[in-house]
Amino acid sequence: MTQGFPEFALEIHDLTKSFERPAVDGLSLRVRAGEFYTLLGPNGAGKTTTLRMTTGLLKPDRGSITAFGIDVLADPVAAKQIMAWLSDEPMIYDRLTPLEYLHFVAGLWGVDNDTADARARDLIGWLGLAAYAQERCEGLSKGTRQKVALAGALVHEPRLIILDEPFTGLDAASARLVKNVLRERVADGCSVIMTTHILEVAERMADRIGVMCGGRLAAEGTLDDLRRQAGAGHATLEDTFLALVETGSRLTDSGRGPIAA
């Protein structure tokens, strides 16, 4: 790690958010700089709520969030400058072309015009969007729209990329392309935190995996760590995941914290 740079890309402490019932309940986790971190969990575990609070889209009831040493709650604009958010529903404008969309996003992040143009064209090339660059997004398939949204998330070269189910609706070739782009970004020093229900993606890509259940972290660590925590007899990640969720549910009900890594 370069001296002077924070060790952690993301530090979440005692994060709490309730709607009608607790969605995130005293969550604490850390993502190291240059790490690919995946959050797993059943539906309603609080993964998306956690990420939305991290990106400043939701206000937590309690707790703190720090991105590369910047307090997200105290200085959201500075924090957003180094972050990118991509949800499973592509946030794009139907009446803009992908190229125009990328220029617009670059403008929002204050990227100068020449740099924005060069990056937009590079991303369009990398993500195989050249054929659609001048077409309005309204006619693009779900997968292509998702790639446009991903390009938008990368055009300002964020240091922390936050992804919520980015592989939903992608075909195998597109999914591989997106995985490769994300791997390249991590290799370049970028940090990624991602939720997914596709366990194979977590297994292949994540440096560490966090398993959420009932708004809390039920388990955390590398895949081997998780297998150990789940106990013997769980050969696949699916078995491991289901065992951890079951244990996590019991612990959540009894009010106890995550299983130690």
């Binding site: 404008y93 403008g107 938008g152």
Partner: protein, 509 residues
């Protein structure tokens, strides 16, 4: 138990859905709110009856045998009303074609789509008739009170006109589908609907300006040249008017004609609806438009990026553009009046001040809704490193830019005719536009911008406050033409409306 797939079964299904929609619209899911809305409606009905009485009582003797003057007035009003019904029916039919809802489910089943659409055309007729009868009821009831029970026959005429409106709209829309295809029909049908709705009002105003130099329709219907040129009292042209006044045979003929046309439309058009609805469903999947030259999004600031984005999105969406600008059709008569004055052929530019202020308030409200509530990528904007205040400011500037483009040229011409009026109008447009934008900001809710036409449903308080604010600011503008000091009173009332809107706004609560 009704047999599944029959007309009666579909009718039961549609009635249940319509009833639940209505119940939700009234109550918003809360019983107490439902009671409050019912009470509000009752007060509104009483107010409308009072308004109708004050308008009609001094205008004519409704117990006397109808003369040509009365026939012209009633005939003109019926024609005006029918054009509005036709406009509403066109919109309802277009919605039935393009809204997917449960169509995919039903069209993929083995049930007869022809029966479903027969029921839906019938339901449209019931809907249009219900709305039209509701709106006409105060005037008809007051006429019956003043002139006798025979005036209640006007209900039958309104019903017949509603049936004919739906039938004509169905045939017209199918004709458009066949001639210009499903993609263009959506836009063209919406424009046709608005033009039909506005054309008679605008046409009558234009004739009034040319003949008597005023915007008033009532004066035109009472003017001697029009009465002289109208058909004789015993002409068949007056059949619907005769029916409305209580002519028994005329009423039977008018009702039978309406029912016959509607039955014909159902019989011949319902079976074609299914294939056309399928074609309409394919519009969304059609290939995208290419742009050889991208719009330059090379902004100097995030605010500029946001402003340009708003304008480009509006410019590239002809449907939204037409919906936003359609109300500006009503500016044509005042602009024509202004043009006449510019060439020294008339006077009364003061009439323009409230019309322009009102139109600006309404347009600003629509544009502000699109920019604020109709944001299609809210997460993207919220996750950008831009403060919320800066985002809102940029969106307000985008609205102001749109208003400036539309009203700038008119103000320029007005400044040449009468600089003082031009300054007054500019102030009024700025204030009314800002007030409408503020109301949309306070009542913002995340909705897809394609639901622009249903924006009034999302908050009745916002809709009411926006309309009331524009009307009162327009009134203040009209008073200011005579005396600036007196304009303080309506201005204060308008500010009170704004204050109340803010108090009731969900964002504040």
């Amino acid at each position: 138990m009704i047999k599944a797939g029959t007309v009666a079964w579909f009718a039961q299904h549609e009635t249940r859905l319509a009833w639940r929609d209505w119940a939700w619209l009234l109550s918003g899911g809360r019983r107490r709110r439902g009671y409050a809305v019912m009470l509000g409606l009752a007060v509104f009905v009483v107010f409308m009856h009072g308004f109708a009485y004050l308008t009609l009582a001094p205008s004519a003797d409704f117990t006397a045998p109808p003369d040509k003057r009365l026939l012209v007035s009633i005939g003109g009003t019926l024609l005006l009303y029918w054009s509005l019904m036709l406009s509403q029916a066109m919109e309802a039919v277009t919605r039935a074609f393009y809204a997917r809802g449960d169509l995919d489910l039903i069209l993929s089943s083995s049930a007869s789509a022809g029966r479903l659409f027969a029921v839906r055309i019938g339901a449209m007729a019931v809907g249009i008739a219900g709305m039209s009868l509701g709106l006409a009821a105060p005037a008809i009831n007051v006429l019956a009170w003043l002139g006798g029970a025979h005036w209640l026959a006007a209900y039958g005429v309104v019903l017949a006109l509603a049936m004919a409106s739906v039938a004509i709209s169905v045939m017209l829309t199918i004709g458009l589908f066949r001639s210009i295809g499903p993609k263009r029909t959506r836009l063209v049908a919406q424009i046709v609907a608005a033009v039909i709705g506005a054309s008679f009002v605008i046409g009558v105003q234009l004739v009034a300006i040319l003949s008597v130099g005023t915007l008033s329709r009532a004066i035109l219907f009472q003017s001697q040249p029009i009465i002289d040129r109208a058909p004789d009292v015993d002409s068949l042209w007056w059949l619907p008017v005769d029916a409305a006044i209580g002519g028994g045979l005329a009423l039977i003929i008018v009702l039978a004609a309406g029912a016959f046309v509607l039955a014909g439309a159902i019989r011949f058009c319902a079976p074609r609806f299914a294939e056309l609805a399928l074609a309409a469903g394919g519009v969304a999947q059609s290939s995208a438009r290419r742009h050889r030259r991208a719009i330059s999004f090379h902004p100097k600031s995030p605010g500029q990026a946001l402003r340009r984005k708003e304008w480009v999105l509006l410019w590239r969406d002809p449907w939204l553009m037409s919906q936003s600008l359609m109300q500006l059709l009503y500016l044509l008569p005042p602009f024509f009046l202004l043009a006449r004055m510019f060439y020294g052929e008339g006077s009364g530019a003061a009439l323009l001040v409230p019309v322009l202020i009102m139109a600006a308030g309404q347009l600003a409200g629509g544009l502000a809704w699109l920019a604020i509530s109709g944001e299609d990528a809210p997460d993207l904007i919220a996750s950008a490193p831009v403060t919320a205040a800066r985002v809102w400011r940029a969106k307000a500037e985008a609205v102001a830019g749109g208003i400036a483009i539309v009203f700038g040229p008119i103000l320029f011409v007005l400044a040449i005719v009468d600089p003082r009026l031009s300054i007054l109008t500019l102030c009024g447009i700025t204030i009314a536009g800002s007030a409408a934008t503020l109301i949309q900001f306070w009542f913002r809710a995340q909705v897809k911008r394609s639901l622009f036409r249903r924006r009034h449903v999302s908050s009745r308080i916002a809709t009411f406050a926006e309309a009331l604010s524009s009307i009162i600011w327009a009134g203040a503008g009209a008073v200011a033409v005579v005396s600036l000091s007196f304009a303080i009173i309506p201005g204060a009332v308008a500010l009170l409306v704004l204050g109340l809107a803010w108090m009731f706004s969900p964002k504040r609560q």
